[in-house]
Symmetry: C2
Subunit: 341 residues, 2 copies
């Protein structure tokens, strides 16, 4: 292994210059820069991270697995993860696994993370297959989950309480006079997020003495499209709905768009609530009444806990974050809507 001193000698420059070159801070000619780097590279100077990884058995990398980075909330989570990693001197490898669960790509990416010797793995909002979960556990990868969880809570999760959150927003709609309330966009077979949100809705309705009809629960995949088609399907059969709670802000925009096509104005003819509290919910008119999840904080806290586990062995305790009901303009009291019952 060559030292900085030896590089300086061979390059006929000062040690300080070698240091500046290797850190890219400027104050040297291109000729000096190239000469120093050439010598450092020829001798496999240990500044390079791959060599550092072998010697120290510490890659200083964590991995992020995420279905897609183009959903509206994932950016906030990634920013939180990246800020926490940066603060701790860690770098981040990103792999997306595709929406809709391409299991082969998920498994390949988990293996890739392992081969890259990531010290920890942050999984964002993924649907796991049992095989993927088994692989992660077998590899004994330090893992933390953001905005998702496993069915048996076998991995630490940084989440909100989906049952409580959907219960709260449904109760809000009930409190302003609505009774005929539908829920649109959740998949009842999705035990991580969909089913708990439907349960929260159903519990709130039952608590108020309402028994939701089957048609009031329109399944979907959280997307704008499932909000749009869900409301079309619902409204074709049922005209007495006065409010819809959606499982994402995007689904709420889909419902509003479909309502628009039936000549219904939101909130004058129909109240609609979102979920997530993305920037989207504030940028549209009417602004969405929604459930705000603290995505950035969830990403940051989950990653910080993971890194503390890696560096000092503290165990990772998952955390359930508080949510907020943001009351804005897309829902209003039944007695102020044009179409009451």
């Amino acid at each position: 292994m060559i030292t900085i001193k030896e590089i300086a000698k061979e390059a006929r420059v000062s040690i300080a210059t070698v240091s500046r070159v290797l850190n890219g801070t400027g104050g040297y000619s291109q000729e000096t820069f190239d000469r120093v780097n050439k010598i450092a590279d020829a001798h496999h100077y240990l500044k390079n991270a791959a060599a550092h990884t072998l010697v120290s058995a510490s890659s200083k990398i964590i991995g992020i697995l995420i279905p897609s980075v183009s959903t509206s909330f994932s950016g906030y989570i990634i920013n939180g993860i990246e800020d926490a990693a940066y603060a701790a001197g860690y770098d981040v490898i990103l792999a997306h696994t595709g929406i809709g669960g391409d299991e082969r790509r998920l498994l390949e990416n988990i293996n890739m993370m392992r081969n890259r010797q990531v010290e920890g793995l942050v999984i964002v909002s993924n649907q796991f297959t049992e095989t993927a979960l088994t692989l992660i556990q077998r590899l004994r990868l330090n893992t933390t989950l953001i905005s998702t969880s496993t069915r048996n809570n076998s991995l630490p999760a940084f989440v909100i309480d989906d049952v409580a959150a959907m219960h709260a927003v449904t109760s809000y709609l009930l409190s302003i006079g609505h009774q005929h309330i539908a829920i649109i966009g959740a998949d009842p077979d999705d035990h991580v997020t969909g089913a708990p949100r439907i349960k929260g809705y159903r519990d709130a309705m039952m608590d108020a003495g309402m028994v939701p009809s089957i048609a009031w629960v329109q399944r979907g995949d959280f997307s704008y499209e499932s909000g749009y088609t869900g409301f079309k399907r619902l409204y074709s059969g049922e005209h007495d709905i006065t409010a819809v709670c959606c499982v994402s802000d995007e689904a709420a925009l889909g419902v509003i768009a479909a309502a628009h096509e039936f000549g219904l104005s939101v909130p004058d003819d129909l109240s609609v609530t979102g979920f997530d509290g993305t920037r989207l919910s504030e940028m549209v008119r009417p602004r969405l009444t929604t459930v705000r999840q603290p995505f950035y904080r969830m990403g940051k806290a989950g990653t910080t806990a993971l890194l503390q586990h890696i560096t000092s062995g503290e165990s990772i305790n998952g955390e359930t974050f508080p949510f907020e009901i943001e009351i804005r303009e897309s829902a209003k009291p039944l007695d102020t809507q044009r179409r009451g019952e």
Copy 2:
């Protein structure tokens, strides 16, 4: 260096089992899995990527530098980059540099990429400082730019023609009768994107014999907020504006929100156009008339060209992509608006 055969012998299992364990494909007990991995790790079995990097001088990693992943279009670009990398067997390291140009973090991240021995760098929509640009060139990193460019075109860029795009959307507004047209959200000192878009607008106006007043150009930073404050500032002084072309879909939503507060309805009282063609522009009502940029394709093509350069030495030729004017509902002919001139 230990071979798979030697691992198999030491672990008392078949070569096929070792292979299955090291690839995580299942079909073995946890006990076997652990034993094989322990032996492989103890002998620094070369499957691990850090060792592979040292031996082959090929890290199979590319880096992405991006200001933030929570702006509405960056997700599409990252998906395109990641899909191209995945197809070529490359992994992706992500670093965000913060919005508003934290130069220290940008320089640190460029150095980090170099220390990780990335084979190439994809820079998305970043504003460069001269220092950062100099560092990239000095490091002789293979670099490609997506949705941004350098002032002297010293690095290959995958972009649209911003002058032509803003000229086209302004001409569209002129063609449907508008004359008093403002532009909101661009920074005239931003030579990469802001200034070219203002030029496209101004050229189209001049071609139609209109001389835009100074107040018609409201500067900003592409954000919702700059659309909102830009329209408030504009409309407080000028009431004869009938159309506004914005430099992003988010800025257009800001203009619509501010117009709303003045009691103006879009498009009945005011026509507004967006820029980018994000999903956002389709999810809102009225849907935005906008300029569609093929972000996913730009990310994929730029990365594919970068990887071809890395693997076979082909030179990277930047590409100017076609844009589309999506005509939807947020702009309408002047003679059908309630407030003409």
